[in-house]
Symmetry: C2
């Protein structure tokens, strides 16, 4: 379909990875829409970050309200968010059953309803140990299903790219990392202790890129890395 | 997982097929939840029918509000609902882009969040010509993705069973077809002229099962069948 060439919906959480995906996408695709989901996450602060990143790139930003549809996770405030390394067993409390399928379904419905070509989700290998719906075994067959039914291409550009390489690529094109948000705690500043804060700190370190983030506890990560 | 045996979420539209699926399911599964979706369909009357069918079977019924997430279909009131045979080209106006993926994603999130084993959707061969997301090429890989990520089994018991055979099976176990709703127009009674009314009339005829439905125009279907 001619009208579908180079148009994409990107799932924008407001974190490092999806913001980088957006930054790369706007260089090639004339029509990009950013979609963020309010699913009742305690760190709904990330949706504000997404708004700022989308605004930085001058792309339309849609926030979809899916509160009440997901259940069974620390990210929904049902139990405490664990501290430590992102690939620790304890992090399984942050799994949200059904989340990425629901996010992708929402983005696919948007893309198909607006005759857009692609849906982009910025999962990466650091997500794989804990989050089964970030793995290629999930996205591979799902992409096949989505293409068969709706003619929409589901793309996972970072599925084999470690987070620090994502940061290297993003820094090279000036992704505004100061606007992004990772922390699961959703406080005033990044906590520096939850799994995704530790992973963020590590990614900047390994990338050799200055970290513009303010952390409540800037030293904790070094003790577990 | 032991707790997941014989527990199922069934997507219940309130029509013939999903009501029959529910009727069959409650005979084998001790734990069944019926899920209906309000997606802004002009025939939201079907959700009331679903409520009555679920109540008949004494199973919990959850209605999920997804209004505003789908777009681009006559079923959303955006254009007129076509009349005639269900497999006519004109019926493509009733396609809702992304619908079944979004419905299944919602049901999978519910099942995974509540540690239930299965999601059941009652697509059948009559849906295949017009609705790509009712075909095995869609559900096959999607089931693979859902199992890989969430350990939930996606089942399509009627994917190769013609609608009249569904009605034969349902009549044999006393499915309350008088409570069900098919019509896309969503009026006081079934219109008898839209694609799904014509298909309903045909299914009862071919099945040799008395049709308990009141149609505004009971004669139209015979002229196109």
């Amino acid at each position: 379909m001619g009208g579908r060439v180079l148009s994409a919906v990107v799932l924008l959480s407001g974190g490092l990875d999806s913001s980088t995906a957006l930054g790369l996408l706007v260089r090639t695709d004339p029509e990009v829409t950013a979609l963020s989901i309010d699913y009742g996450q305690r760190h709904v602060r990330e949706v504000e970050a997404a708004e700022q990143v989308a605004s930085h790139y001058g792309v339309p930003h849609r926030v979809i309200d899916l509160t009440g549809l997901l259940t069974g996770s620390a990210l929904l405030g049902e139990v405490e968010v664990p501290e430590g390394r992102y690939d620790d067993e304890s992090m399984s409390a942050t799994v949200v059953p059904g989340r990425n399928l629901l996010f992708i379904a929402t983005a696919v419905a948007y893309a198909a309803g607006h005759e857009m070509a692609e849906v982009v989700i910025a999962v990466h290998p650091g997500d794989h140990p804990i989050y089964p719906d970030c793995r290629p075994e999930f996205h591979g067959p799902l992409a096949e299903a989505v293409r068969a039914a709706y003619g929409v291409t589901l793309r996972t550009p970072f599925v084999y790219m470690p987070k620090d390489r994502i940061v290297v690529a993003g820094a090279a094109i000036g992704v505004p990392y100061d606007l992004t948000w990772s922390c699961y705690q959703g406080g005033e500043v990044h906590c520096g202790r939850c799994g995704t804060c530790v992973e963020r700190i590590e990614a900047f370190m390994l990338a050799g890129v200055p970290d513009p983030t303010t952390y409540a506890d800037p030293d904790y990560a070094r003790s577990v890395l």
